[in-house]
């Protein structure tokens, strides 16, 4: 901190004010969804009519919502485990083993981040139809795997980069084989990254819509269900209630993921 000039430490009131406004504008639009989900009216408008839990109660009794929820959870769980597992192994290989063409490989893995999702969606749809594979939760899962892989690798790469390779070497010198070195040395060190990656990829898959739109068969995921309901104005309040629940769960999962994911990294930086 001492290398910072005193003028930088001087608080800048205008910027502080701007930051406050920025955060308010970032969060308030999303908060209108839960607010109106408790409103006792099928119209989403001011003035508010009164408090009700009616829309949530209705939601509870709906069979298709539960079915869609289970579909989303199934896809999310499988996708998060595969993408974290494979992403972790790839991240380890990228950092530890001196592989030629490292930059090209990382660029390739990160490609889905910058290419419009619609292109991946339609390309996979065309592939599946040419292969004669019927659209199902498996095709949605494959699509989500492509979307989640960059995030898993991006979450895990700093973990492998941040830890001292000599720990692994010491374990090998002391007679552990590769398998036990991984479980007793490598895994505990990267564990927070693994948890963060699992939570993050699960949430991304759970909330993903663009790929699912093209690749869903007869079983809709939760976002697909919501999309279908948006056509009916009378369903608006229950969609709001469902959306509030999804947002609530997503916010909590991602917050935990980000917190765990960054915690150890910052500690190491402070120690260094």
């Amino acid at each position: 901190m001492s290398d910072m000039g005193t003028y930088i430490k001087r608080p800048n009131r205008a910027l502080q004010f701007y930051a406050l406004i920025f955060l308010i504008v970032l969060y308030v639009p999303v908060l209108f969804i839960p607010m109106f989900s408790f409103n006792d009216s099928i119209y989403v408008r001011f003035p508010l009519e009164g408090f009700t839990l009616q829309w949530y109660v209705e939601l509870w009794a709906r069979e298709p919502v539960w079915a869609a929820l289970f579909n989303s959870v199934k896809v999310g769980a499988v996708v998060s485990i595969i993408s974290t597992g494979r992403g972790g192994v790839a991240a380890r290989a990228i950092t530890r083993d001196r592989v030629p063409g490292r930059a090209a490989i990382v660029t390739f893995i990160m490609m889905p981040l910058v290419i419009p999702g619609i292109i991946f969606g339609v390309a996979l749809l065309v592939l599946m139809s040419q292969l004669g594979v019927p659209l199902s939760l498996y095709t949605v899962g494959l699509g989500h795997l492509i979307v989640c892989m960059p995030f898993a690798v991006a979450t895990l790469l700093p973990r492998f980069e941040g830890f001292d390779a000599s720990l692994e070497e010491a374990s090998a010198d002391l007679g552990e084989n590769g398998w036990w070195t991984f479980w007793r040395v490598t895994f505990p060190v990267v564990f927070p990254g693994v948890v963060a990656s699992l939570l993050l990829t699960f949430t991304i898959s759970f909330d993903e819509f663009i790929m699912a739109f093209f690749l869903t068969g007869t079983d809709p995921t939760l976002p697909m269900y919501i999309w279908g309901q948006l056509r009916f104005p009378q369903e608006f309040p229950s969609v709001l209630a469902l959306s509030s629940l999804i947002l609530f769960v997503s916010f909590i999962l991602v917050f935990i993921a980000q917190y765990i994911g960054r915690m150890g990294l910052d500690d190491e930086k402070n120690l260094a």
């Binding site: 290398d3 639009p29 989403v44 001011f46 790839a90 893995i109 910058v114 339609v122 492509i146 892989m149």
Partner: protein, 313 residues
């Protein structure tokens, strides 16, 4: 007895080279890090190849087919691309997509820059919490965040009904929902986190002693910002621009939910071709054309920024 020992020794002789081959492979794998690395990565690469490269080539192939009644004529032709180039609707939608995405990118980067600057230079405690706070909404459902704006901007939405119940306006403002403005606002809000992170990283990296040196040499805060901070953070600005511009050009959810007919984008057209219009080859051709245009624009943008940087230094 002799026979068995002979056959045994034969078997051993037969096994020996095989085992040594296996040993050799194991040894190579153990010694060659590159080989081991590739082997470890291969499942990931296979998944991504199945998910990215093969579909992409098939998309290119199908884009050269043509629709033939309810099926597809599989003779390869560029007819779809010529049609896309000639029919004004396609060009107009492509242009509009780039215009809307460009505006959204510009405003997002412009509005996020001060925020990233604030966290990089003025926040000293709990930086991590600030970063999480700024990026948290980004990870939650894109569909729902767009939906939130529909609730806000709607004809009877938060703004219109709120202002009316306060007595500020007599009738609902119609321009809010189903306009290009609505799409730009929604996109800028939805993609803010993508701009914040690269901007923050590039600002955080700036050597603070350069700023002190500039001050010591007599630069005021404004001159210091334009001569040191802004040029050094340009990589972040460029990265942020790409990260927002490229994915948003293909967006179809936002125009579909808050855009209306005036703000229909190329993504909506692609979605129509694969859905109700059932003209997959045309949809494929439009997707490929979109990718090519994105590449061209990105290259021009990179070239210009590089030229500008050369001129500055």
């Amino acid at each position: 007895m002799a026979e068995t020992s002979l056959s045994q020794s034969q078997a051993q002789a037969g096994q020996a080279p095989e085992r040594s081959l296996r040993d050799r492979i194991a040894g190579k794998l153990y010694r060659s890090e590159a080989l081991r690395g590739y082997l470890l990565m291969s499942p990931t690469m296979i998944i991504l190849t199945i998910g990215i490269i093969i579909p992409f080539f098939i998309l290119v192939m199908i884009s050269m087919w043509t629709r033939d009644g309810f099926g597809f004529d599989t003779t390869l032709t560029l007819a779809n691309y010529f049609e896309a180039a000639e029919k004004p609707i396609y060009g107009a939608l492509m242009q509009r997509s780039f215009w809307i995405s460009g505006l959204a990118t510009f405003f997002t980067v412009l509005l996020c820059y001060p925020m990233a600057y604030y966290v990089a230079f003025h926040v000293h405690k709990n930086k991590m919490m600030w970063i999480i706070l700024m990026t948290l909404p980004f990870w939650t459902s894109y569909l729902l965040r767009v939906f939130a704006w529909k609730v806000i901007l709607g004809f009877e939405g938060v703004i219109n009904s709120g202002f009316m119940s306060l007595g500020w306006i007599e009738a609902p403002m119609e321009f809010l929902l189903y306009s290009q403005t609505a799409v730009v606002i929604t996109l800028a809000h939805a993609w803010a986190a993508f701009a914040i992170l690269p901007l923050y990283v590039s600002l955080e990296k700036i050597d603070k002693s350069l700023l002190e040196a500039a001050t010591d040499l007599g630069d005021g805060p404004v001159a210091r910002f334009f001569r040191i901070t802004l040029p050094l953070s340009m990589p972040g600005v460029i990265a942020a621009s790409f990260l927002i511009f490229i994915p948003t050009t293909g967006d179809y959810i936002t125009p579909a939910l808050v855009g209306g007919p005036d703000a229909m984008m190329i993504g909506n057209l692609v979605q129509l071709q694969f859905g109700p219009m059932n003209n997959w080859p045309m949809g494929g051709a439009l997707s490929i054309a979109l990718m090519l245009w994105i590449c061209a624009i990105a290259l021009v943008f990179l070239f210009l920024t590089r030229k500008a940087q050369e001129k500055l230094t």
